[in-house]
Point group: C2
Chain length 82, copies 2
């Protein structure tokens, strides 16, 4: 193995960054969890568990959230203070 870059460790797991961003953006858009779930085609309780950082979600679900919140998947995985 020949690493070409310095090791960069994320200070926060992706799942937690995602949870924070989804909750923040949902509130900014004045959506309830139920409304966001409906936009994503997912269940309200699933959205709640994602917002609590309890779900190891797939890239497919990530894209559903990004489309519903009108941001990119990368935006959802990037810390707001980064």
């Amino acid at each position: 193995m020949k690493p070409k870059k310095k090791l960069r460790k994320p200070s926060q797991p992706l799942i937690e960054t995602l949870a924070d961003n989804i909750r923040r953006l949902r509130r900014e858009r004045e959506l309830s969890q139920e409304e966001l779930a409906s936009l994503c085609g997912l269940h309200r309780t699933y959205v709640g568990s994602v917002e609590r950082g309890e779900r190891n979600i797939t890239l497919g679900s990530l894209e559903l959230f990004a489309a519903a919140l009108d941001v990119t998947a990368i935006d959802l995985l990037t810390r707001e203070d980064a």
Copy 2:
């Protein structure tokens, strides 16, 4: 719903961008699929299917690939020509 930003559609699904990046970075690091799988703690056939864009992988697996390839998860989801 009150969208605040312009809609940005990804030109390529995340899964395909990820597949391209993992294959490219693995080869740059002169690793076989088996060696990368071993670094990730995953099976060689799983790595192969991810590199073919066949897997809707989770954020947890994404972080394993990123750590093994010494890049960030965001790097793996960003098109090289972006």
